[in-house]
């Protein structure tokens, strides 16, 4: 079972990436599940994903990096033991620190995870403001990623995209950084980057 963790601040574009990625995995014949963690009493993203017939499990009214970390582990074990999925995409809440989410994984007792990737989604439109006022969270989300996706590149200016790349590179010198548009399909290169085991 492969695990992809998507982190990124609220509204950064995680759901817009997770949905086509999950569809791509399913269309290539894999059993994929999404665990979506939302802030709020009622999940919005999970309702949308169900509308699209995706296999979604919701964790609401808490954060998987703290109060719901046990629920995350239990859900992973259920997906492994009862559904034998090939891929789990975890969409963390926008307030989640991925370091804490990753620290819960050693408590998972199912089949060994074949791979774990931590993807940070960065919104170039708001990064200058967010890095000022949410410095610890935004820094941690970028710092612990092994892939950084600069989202909404169809809406951002080249200066905004350049700033996002420079900032991400300063915080995380080793992660690969790629761009993704807010709308439309994920390009094949990004899908291959995220699902390299599917071929």
């Amino acid at each position: 079972m492969h695990l992809l963790l998507f982190s990124g601040f609220l509204g950064s574009g995680k759901t817009s990436l997770v949905i086509p990625l999950s569809k791509a995995a399913v269309e290539s014949g894999h059993r994929a599940a999404i665990i979506v963690n939302e802030i709020g009493e009622i999940g919005i993203d999970n309702q949308l994903m169900r509308q699209l017939d995706l296999n979604v499990w919701e964790l609401v009214a808490g954060c998987i990096c703290c109060t719901l970390s046990g629920d995350l582990v239990a859900t992973l074990q259920k997906l492994d033991s009862d559904y034998a999925v090939d891929l789990v995409i975890v969409e963390a809440s926008g307030a989640a620190d991925p370091r804490n989410v990753l620290s819960a994984l050693p408590y998972y007792r199912g089949r060994p995870l074949s791979s774990v990737r931590n993807v940070a989604v960065v919104d170039p439109l708001r990064l200058p403001m967010l890095i000022e006022v949410m410095t610890p969270l935004i820094t941690s989300q970028i710092q612990h990623a092994d892939l950084i996706i600069v989202s909404k590149t169809d809406l951002a200016t080249s200066d905004q995209i350049d700033f996002a790349h420079r900032t991400a590179r300063e915080i995380n010198p080793t992660a690969r950084i790629v761009n993704a548009a807010a709308r439309g399909h994920l390009d094949a290169e990004l899908i291959s980057e995220l699902l390299p085991w599917q071929n």
Binding site: G11, E41, I42, L48, D123, V133, L137, L155
Partner: protein
């Protein structure tokens, strides 16, 4: 890391359309953007995410997302032709504003826009 305190407000509403005041996409977007502007103007709240899912009785959905008072709403999905009703669920997540304030601002936004539109009713479920 210091904990990020957020007090989201979640609400379900039923919207009914009685005349030709515009497309559902534009109405829901205007609601969300007006709410974002009011949140921003009240105590300098920083918009985290205002996101909504509108479901139509005849199928179809709209997903509307606002992350800033100055950026346009992101809208995805499609509306069935001739649909006069929708069920809207939305989360308002604003850093710096508590749940009670968000509820009040949401109420005021609905009140303001239904008076402006005249032919739309918004019922909290």
């Amino acid at each position: 890391m210091a904990e990020l305190i957020l007090e989201p407000y979640t609400v379900k509403q039923r919207w009914r359309l009685f005349g030709d005041v515009g497309e559902w996409e534009n109405l829901v977007s205007e609601f969300m953007q007006t709410l974002a502007r009011r949140c921003h103007e009240t105590g300098k709240g920083i918009i985290g995410h205002i996101k909504a899912l509108a479901l139509f009785p005849d199928g179809g959905y709209l997903r509307v997302s606002v992350v800033s008072p100055t950026l346009p709403a992101g809208v995805e999905g499609s509306v069935p032709v001739g649909c006069t009703e929708l069920l809207l669920t939305f989360n308002v997540i604003v850093y710096g504003l508590g749940r009670d304030t968000l509820e009040q601002l949401t109420y005021e936004t609905a009140d303001h826009l239904t008076k402006k539109w005249k032919e739309v009713t918004i019922e909290v479920l």
